[in-house]
Symmetry: C2
């Protein structure tokens, strides 16, 4: 699948890949997934379209590779000894990250292709599972300290920290402030402490 003999790091292959993935992110930000095409990415990257077709073959592959490059970045996992402080710090990092690329346009574009196909959805589920696994220790340590019930679903805690921030970015078009980040973290902590995220939840009585 590699169309160039030069495969050493920093060689032409690596440069082409970097240029194409950067162009993909820019196209996603400007046109969204639906408006992007293999041709428009190739043109923006300054690469012949047959090069892009040979290596990525389809538009979903470009999207998935662009998301995968994000997965290569490590998330810093705070460990202050207090869940609320850890999650507030984590939430502020999310707020900074999702507004950092063109004020959220890249994030908006990246996820605008999420309904493309079951292949892309499966890929996204794997991407998020990997991200959640990286930060799960914050919740596990809190369980170990006795701050939370032992059967707390750590991933649900993490999701409820991030959700209000993406909601402001993608739905209500509000600023994703550090104040909003701390509110999201505090909300998830309060719910987790109350046992809302326990794996076996008590029946609601309805």
């Amino acid at each position: 699948m590699i169309d160039d003999a030069t495969q050493r790091p920093g060689g032409r292959t690596a440069r082409v890949r970097a240029a194409v993935l950067t162009a993909t992110l820019q196209e996603l930000a400007q046109r969204g997934y639906a408006g992007m095409s293999v041709e428009s990415v190739a043109q923006r990257a300054g690469v012949h379209k047959t090069t892009v077709y040979r290596r990525w073959a389809t538009k979903p592959n470009l999207l998935m590779d662009a998301i995968a490059t994000l997965a290569e970045t490590k998330i810093s996992v705070p460990d202050t000894g207090d869940l609320a402080e850890d999650l507030r710090s984590f939430a502020r990092t999310i707020a900074t990250t999702i507004t950092g690329h063109d004020g959220g346009a890249v994030v908006r574009g990246l996820f605008s292709g999420a309904t493309e196909s079951s292949e892309v959805r499966d890929f996204l589920h794997g991407f998020w599972a990997g991200r959640f696994a990286q930060v799960r220790p914050m919740v596990e340590r809190a369980i170990g300290r006795g701050e939370l019930p032992t059967d707390t679903d750590a991933d649900e805690v993490i999701k409820h920290v991030g959700a209000p921030l993406y909601y402001r970015l993608l739905v209500t078009a509000e600023a994703v402030t550090s104040e909003a980040a701390e509110l999201a973290a505090d909300s998830a902590v309060a719910a987790a402490r109350a046992g809302v995220f326990r794996r076996r939840r008590p029946s609601s009585g309805d």
Copy 2:
């Protein structure tokens, strides 16, 4: 701004408006905001593009009018006498609504233009303010019953119910189930009861 003398309800003007707004929603679902154009909407609606230009003038106007048609639908506001039950019912309605149109593609498309301009952002803020105002009585009644602190920010409670559902739809590409809806509602209720959404929040100590 009306290009047709027949303005009675159900006349040509109303039919053209309905066709154009339906076409706008379909274009948003299939191409996203960035990929949609006044021409593509006119073509899909079977209307001459000058008709669309005369009445809506710009693509942002089409988007805002499409969102405004959603605002015409009334939200049913449960009143069971218990905040948790009310918010669970409300959350299930959100889940059904946002996945009901092409499995969320319309919702995804509608908000994909949210970063277009400050005009569109201001419009969205007004749209959401109107939606939140409709359902705020659920929280106000709970305050009246003594279920929540009197200085609870009702809109933040409402936002934290909806956010995890839009997050599953737009970010993690997970199914927006009634179980997820109830979890989101219970989380917001627990946080509200703990005082997280009070307007004057205690300092975090950091």
